[in-house]
Symmetry: C2
Subunit: 359 residues, 2 copies
DNA sequence: CCGTAGAATGAAACCGGTTACATTTAATAA
DNA sequence: TTATTAAATGTAACCGGTTTCATTCTACGG
């Protein structure tokens, strides 16, 4: 169809005043006497440019300090090259190790990280996810506490073709990938180690556990191992508080208060173990002479505690890397199918456990 | 001027297939029988819509789970509502406290945080800044090591009207704001505290200092205080290694190796102090009975060390908050002029220092 | 019942890039 | 030298919003 139109072209001589405001690709094109397409090609397909054209444009860019606007390009390419990272808190060694690893790996692969901490609040978690969807992140790494509600939200993100990976916990979903250790097994092993060292009376100290999050799994691993060895584990030998050092302090005191004859405390995180160590010392109990202590996470400090802490190593750095790789793989292959990656745990034997069966 | 044009309008019935791909504002407009302008107004100026129009659009949005694209809107509004955070490492309690504070404050004010760690590399630092400029962050918070080169880069950002705030260090620039404590004075005070407790032979343990970064200031504060009290401080009583716990371990060993008769070690970070504590114990020196120890930062762990650590409090959370507020203030008032904010430090007296002059 | 102010809405240009397609230029073969 | 083909570049639509300005409704006073 051919129409007759009256042109209303305003013809503002686009950006004639170079002085203020950002320089656009059109300015660069004009200044170097080429079209915007050619300038764009300099960035994305430089090999198809004649060397002198390239040099000419590069000179202009250099001279005028042109900085392309990634938001604008994301609009057409539909790729923000941004990974959203959701994490409960930064103020925890194990989390910060993961964050750092995620960031470093993303940087290597050319992705940026936009991150937010939930402070363990479900509402904040939801808000964060909304923000990330608004910003059209290319993918989401979630290292918070996994609950059904959030899984549903991540699935919603998948509907918008934003893939996601959950870290720390191993879920079983066929869209949302996960990277973690076998928390049940690791906890079982740690408990068995104490038993193998001749301990019979022990208590467990852990953070808040919900239905089948990793803490629940650690709790279950402890209980099952105790039961399988015909040892007692019940609500009175398991204390669940929060994640902070002071919870370890308080928890250990509570445990010892209830069961003065415990020979070992197993703390399901090094932070709690650190608090327990302090608490035990306050109560005049020497570790490991009077009472033994096992942690979980193997944060940097645990090596330099006095005594150095026997703990379960969680390969946080490796997990971060794996998570990013899995995410990017999903992105690049446009894959929906989830992968569930289990990493190896390992008991790091140091000086905080007395071995009653040592030769 | 009136022209006759032959229309080449392609007329692709924009987004006729609602099925795949993201829903756009045009889809919502079409589905609710209004123009895109009206939909846009629903988000930015809802009061000027007739109630039933509003309800109609809202229903469509709700039904189709429309998620506006923030990158697209940033293109016209020129506001990404994003703060860039540059930090050397996440794996350090004092840094993670700051990060968390920055994030929480940003979230409160509606800003997102895009962050990157430099791992103390100048090159990474430069790359990060480039990325943030590319993404048109609304402002930059820089908590890395301040060197002239980077200041120049931040000034470049200011030219592109991206304001910035430096944290930890107090610089004197009239474009780049800063938030920090008086490191020289804090260090002087810590040293004086030891002297007031009767100590005369002490060594300093610190990370890598460069021209007038905060570590250099802490070093200077220590030296000046010693000199003013007619006590010796020289290169052989000052050990500068890196930031990690193991550097504290090694550093303390080196200090004691050179000067077996030191009665106190002042570590310019709690992390180093933590390592020193371990090291001293290894060498059979009891703290504070045989040798005293002072840290710097007041990270959470320092309260629960054995013995708990006397240290200088750095208000990291407050600093993060102040930094964000200052940044947002600059943004909102389009202010160029820098502000330099000094926060109070404080010596937290715990159990790691022996007071030879106690009554 | 009409004129008019003010409220509500629509049309279309624009933000700063990308890219399919068309066109020009250069290189190679005949 | 010319035809053919490939390489280099240009044109203009498009991404998904916002916003100015014009237009249509609505309500109210005369």
């Amino acid at each position: 169809m051919i129409l007759l139109l009256v042109s209303k072209k305003v013809n503002t001589i686009h950006n004639s005043t170079e002085q203020q405001g950002q320089l656009t690709i059109r300015d660069i094109a004009r200044l170097s006497g080429v079209s915007t397409a050619t300038v764009s090609r300099l960035f994305h397909n430089p090999s198809c440019l004649k060397p002198d054209t390239k040099a000419k444009i590069e000179a202009v860019i250099e001279k005028h300090q042109y900085i392309p606007n990634l938001n604008a390009s994301a609009l057409t390419t539909k790729n923000t090259m941004t990974v959203g990272l959701i994490i409960p808190t930064v103020k925890s060694s194990i989390h910060s190790a993961l964050i750092q690893s995620v960031q470093d790996t993303c940087a290597e692969l050319g992705y940026s990280v936009i991150m937010g901490n939930t402070n363990y609040s479900e509402e904040t978690e939801k808000n964060l996810l909304d923000i990330m969807l608004n910003r059209r992140v290319t993918g989401i790494i979630h290292a918070g506490t996994v609950n059904p509600k959030f899984i549903a939200m991540l699935r919603r993100a998948a509907e918008h073709s934003i893939p996601s990976v959950v870290v720390w916990e191993n879920i079983s979903d066929n869209e949302i990938s996960s990277v973690g250790i076998d928390n049940y097994r690791a906890s079982y092993d740690a408990t068995q180690y104490l038993i193998d060292c001749g301990h019979k009376d022990m208590g467990l100290l852990l953070g808040p556990y919900t239905t089948m999050n990793r803490l629940a799994q650690r709790r279950l691993g402890f209980m099952d191992c105790m039961n399988h060895n015909n040892l007692y584990a019940g609500d009175d030998t398991i204390i669940s508080l929060s994640h902070e050092v002071r919870d370890g302090v308080m928890g250990a005191a509570m445990l010892i208060g209830k069961h003065p004859r415990l020979t070992a405390i197993y703390a399901a995180s090094d932070v709690l173990a650190f608090g327990a160590l302090y608490s035990l010392r306050q109560m005049g109990r020497r570790v490991p002479k009077d009472i033994s202590l096992v942690g979980f996470d193997n944060i940097e400090f645990s090596e330099y505690c006095i005594p150095s802490l026997t703990t379960v190593n969680v390969p946080a750095v490796k997990m971060g890397k794996k998570a990013v790789f899995e995410l990017v793989d999903k992105i690049q292959h446009n894959r929906l199918q989830a992968k569930h990656i289990y990493l190896e745990h390992e008991i790091i034997i140091r000086d905080s456990v007395a071995n009653y069966r040592a030769t």
